[in-house]
Subunit: 200 residues, 2 copies
């Protein structure tokens, strides 16, 4: 470890940054030295924000997204269609759909996807909470888990789980991204797009 060549406080700081996902030793060093050159008030604000966010952020009691309120702003918005629930893997996916400004329903955040490889089973994601919500008045469940192996597995599992309730369950379309050039797109996506073709 390069951090052995620094004094203890600096090594500790590098080590903390290295623990973050996708941050290698070199980047951790760069970030640590940046912090050491930052005005002390800025470092204190950063440090406070970390603990405050972690302490105050919790799961929305309705949709399970990460928020700093008991009920998140989306679930609290009476203008939205609470009978349409989009199921996503995490809060970032929810933010991605919110950015479109076109979806008027609400969400349910699973915080993960079923992955036997990683030992993540149905009980490890927020499925129980979803099933409780479905006992209320729900018209449609839109499954918007990722188009990955785990995302598809999760989608299938949820669809099977919802089936007995008779609630309409849909899956977002999978295909060629808008602006995507066919020649650069993988075969699986191309076939998926073909299967999902719609009449013009």
């Amino acid at each position: 470890m390069a951090s052995d060549y620094y004094s203890k406080q600096i090594s500790n700081l590098i080590a903390e940054f290295s623990r973050l996902p996708g941050i290698g030793e070199k980047t951790a060093q760069r970030l640590a030295f940046h912090v050491l050159h930052m005005p002390i008030e800025d470092v204190k604000r950063f440090s406070d924000t970390l603990t405050k966010a972690r302490e105050q952020v919790r799961y929305c009691s309705v949709c399970c997204t990460l928020t700093d309120r008991e009920v998140c702003p989306v679930c609290d918005d009476q203008k939205r269609d609470h009978k349409q629930i989009m199921v996503v893997e995490d809060s970032r996916d929810m933010a991605a759909y919110e950015k479109t400004h076109k979806y008027g329903g609400v969400y349910h955040v699973l915080h993960g996807a079923i992955s036997p490889m990683q030992g993540i089973g149905p009980a490890d994601i927020r499925l129980k909470e979803l099933m409780v919500r479905l006992q209320g008045d729900v018209d449609e469940v839109i499954i918007a888990t990722n188009s990955s192996l785990e995302g598809e597995t999760t989608a299938m599992y949820i669809a099977k789980l919802i089936k007995p309730t008779g609630i309409k369950t849909t899956r977002i379309a999978s295909g060629v991204p808008v602006g995507g050039e066919l020649e650069y797109i993988d075969e699986v996506t191309l076939l998926r797009a073909l299967d999902g073709r719609t009449e013009l």
Copy 2:
């Protein structure tokens, strides 16, 4: 900003990560959500490390490197040759040479390089401190600033500054990196390597 779609504490956390160099909006979101899922004790330790490092780390009173002591371990090591001073741009460059375990002299850390483009002049780097050290018993100053425009400018400037003292001043060699394949190396480096050729 995507962070508009998150609650305040989460947006603040994303904003703090975005302020770090080389961290874009997407990476900042990823890091923020990682922190929100970390055990609270780990977040507190990270947060403490940030402020503690920033508060306790200072410049070595001899070589100006960042350290948590009055005099850094290298400057404090009596087995090293204190008459040989390697001048580097920052503490990371010093760590890079320390990792070789072959350099037995000491260092002087400038904390930057002269860059008229960025408005960084000779007074903005730790040159005055170097000149003070040179009033002592010094045999050689090895200039190991980067092989960039700024690094070279700084090297020239320092060499001119030291000249009147009569102290031997050297510059680390510039050329083809070990293991480097000529065909992938830029022309300037190739010419530099040619100019710096040594007899076998």
